[in-house]
Symmetry: C3
Subunit: 337 residues, 3 copies
């Protein structure tokens, strides 16, 4: 880690310093766990209680945050964004030593940029290309004809098939599968016949995809993930889905085939979206909701039932099965007035 004075840090992250500019920080920590030399932050009001007692050397807070203690403060408009920038300053990106590990299995017809790094036991197929500064982690599999853009980082055990095109500065976490076959089946006399899957996957620049997430190839046509899209762990993106730029998708979301999601959307954890829908730009869907129809207007959408004690839930859940009848009974009472 790097060591920085609060004066330097305030300048870099556009903060107003309340405290001694000579104090130096060289670590990142939560308010609860911080000690001398650590920088911390307060963005979520739930953790405000820890602000008074923190042993951090400095804390990034909002412009108007009240603080009773005399800890040094870096006041910012957007404390979490400022924290992100401060973290990048204190934890500089690793420099990547280029080269191909001797245990990697690289097809002679693959093109590895001389500034790229290919780690142990990676497999790189014919006609694949790995761009400048890219890093292919251990045991990654880069199929025939796949392109990996400049400065992208596949951490470990990532599989990319189907001649997929991966943009620049893309981060793919362990266990990610890109370009597996879609669930293309045709029923013939009650038996499922496989529809050959022939399309690919295109992933824009600055995309990040979390551990064990799967992105199927399109067929025909491609599955497309726009630039700046961020996808968490264990998300399923089916064939021919299109995701607009700068959309964020939390863990355990499933998106069915051919659905198109707009730009600047957010899907919370566990959301499911059925196939062939269109979701407008700037739509937010709250956790574990199922989306069964297209959404034309920006805004926040929800489904689901609230958590209850199990006994209360049992009493109420059975009533859901009688709800239509209950509504008719109310109608009858109204008509009898």
């Amino acid at each position: 880690m790097v060591e920085l004075s609060l004066a330097e840090l305030a300048r870099e992250i556009d903060a107003t310093l309340a405290g001694d500019g000579e104090i130096r920080v060289s670590r990142l920590a939560t308010l609860q766990q911080a000690g001398p030399g650590a920088l911390s932050f307060l963005a979520n009001p739930r953790y405000r209680k820890y602000l008074e007692t923190t042993r951090a050397s400095a804390v990034i807070v909002g412009r108007d945050q009240r603080v009773a203690s005399d800890v040094a403060l870096l006041r910012c408009d957007h404390p979490y964004a400022a924290w992100a920038r401060a973290a990048r300053l204190l934890v500089p990106a690793e420099t990547v030593e280029p080269g191909v590990h001797p245990t990697a299995v690289v097809d002679p017809a693959a093109q590895i940029d001389p500034t790229a790094r290919v780690e142990a036991l990676a497999v790189i197929g014919a006609d694949a290309r790995v761009g400048a500064g890219a890093r292919i982690g251990p045991a990654c599999i880069i199929g025939e004809g796949v392109h990996i853009g400049a400065d992208s980082h596949l951490l470990a055990r990532v599989t990319v098939l189907a001649r997929a095109r991966i943009g620049a500065r893309v981060i793919l976490h362990p266990g990610v599968v890109i370009g597996s076959d879609g669930f293309g089946l045709a029923a013939v006399d009650g038996v499922w016949e496989k529809v050959p899957q022939v399309g690919s996957v295109r992933i824009g620049d600055d995309v990040e995809i979390g551990a064990n997430t799967t992105v199927d190839r399109g067929s025909p046509g491609d599955t497309v993930i726009g630039e700046g899209v961020k996808i968490d762990n264990q998300v399923q993106v089916a064939h021919n889905v299109e995701i607009g730029a700068h959309t964020a998708i939390a863990a355990c979301v499933g998106i069915s085939g051919s659905t198109r999601i707009g730009r600047y959307c957010t899907l919370a954890g566990g959301v499911g979206i059925v196939g062939h829908l269109e979701i407008a730009d700037r739509v937010q869907v709250t956790g574990m909701s199922m989306v069964t129809h297209s959404i034309r207007q920006p805004g926040t959408y929800s489904a689901g039932t609230p958590l209850m004690g199990n006994r209360q839930w049992r009493r109420n859940a059975v009533r859901i099965k009688q709800l239509d009848r209950l509504a008719r009974r109310v109608k009858d009472l109204e008509d009898e007035r």
Copy 2:
């Protein structure tokens, strides 16, 4: 890809040709993206609007589809099934060159058919068998005593343990895990003790399993997946589950231990099924439904609440907690009439 005339194609897929039989196609494309030389199809009415303007050389459509443009048509009873067959003709299966890659780690006591292919960095344990024409992709792990049937294809990074038996023509996508331990725990004085898992997994012929899906071994007894079953990505099949032939399971489904699912069922994305249930043949469960009791009759079953704007949802969701009381209040009103 192969090039075929529409006359040949019509014959092969049992279509009535409306157009010039001499036209040749050699590519597959969606209606929107097709150009000259491409074959396309219309199976889902949502995409009808693209039919008039497509630049495809020919389109597979239903027998009675109305079309205003003069694009060549291949009229079929089941356009999606015909598309599947046409795709298999235009994209013939890769011929697999047999042999074991020098970086594969194969136990001397494994039996690899001389016509099988074992790719880079695969690991094959003692007493494992790989059948004729089978293909074990890069970095797959075939545990001790596992059998892989003829012409099966494990794409890459598939793990098969527990002496599992995999049938013929089975396709396993990257990240699939077969034969991991089930969640067998016994509570002893509040602490969980592991129950040793001793059974196996049996997978029938012509099964396909999607990326990052997991199938636990049974204990005692086996987990059984019938012939022709198709499973999408990120599905969880717990220990001792039995899935009947020709059932299709979409992504993100979870099936708890010892549940038996019938033949010709379809489970839509995100469905959850609790343990020890029996689901009859020809049952369909719609997306994200939770199945908490056995289903004895064929038919379609559903659970869940509809998507709403968040404000509307908040108002309604709180009422679900009061639903039993609401029903009692209606009863009181009725009694007072």
Copy 3:
């Protein structure tokens, strides 16, 4: 497998034997599939019907179980726990031959205990430590600075990064990812900026984690999984989550960032928990429930709607959207009385 007489077995598992103590068993089987020489058990009353016709040589049952047949019985207080113990006696743990497979890629600065085993194509980074008797299965990736405790077993293709600390006797199943980056994003002018992830993961002794489960590193601070925690397949544990000792988490659960779960909890399959919550000790959440607020009291909690025939569901589901209005209409009727 080992062969044991019923007399020996009864002594070892604290059972009362009803039958011939000389009978010997050497296999484990379900009641339905058992034959001579097999030991079986009855713990779930659903399977009682098989008890009269089983061909098992002996069956572990509850103290008061009525049985009409003359099969030998081992009567116990907790038949499933007794079954677990009997299984451990009949299926003794494999002895692990120590040594590093010649195809493993081990950094010279890693410390592998001489009694540990590192299997084919594993990758072990600098400053990693593998404890006594630990077993690193084929194609596992142990990142720089990671510690694996004594007698832990990583089955195959497990990835551990971020200098994680794994306790003793921990079992990690294939496809598990420990120490991937959390979903830490800050919105800056509508674009997502990555927050560098700097913390780690600490996993206590006797933890078991199922296939393809993911556990993100904290930042700052650690993600913590307490001793004796059991996690099933395809569970997502986000950054900075803390899970108390002896909690059990079934498959397909998702836990969002910074949530703290108590000790001795059980989360059933498909449960989702939003971020920054606190769940008390001894809380049980039933399947597919979404937890949106902290839970302060032990007990069982539920959400969700019951499964219905699709037609019935359609009629009722639409009424959920009118529920607030329905409640107001009932209020009006009451006011008019």
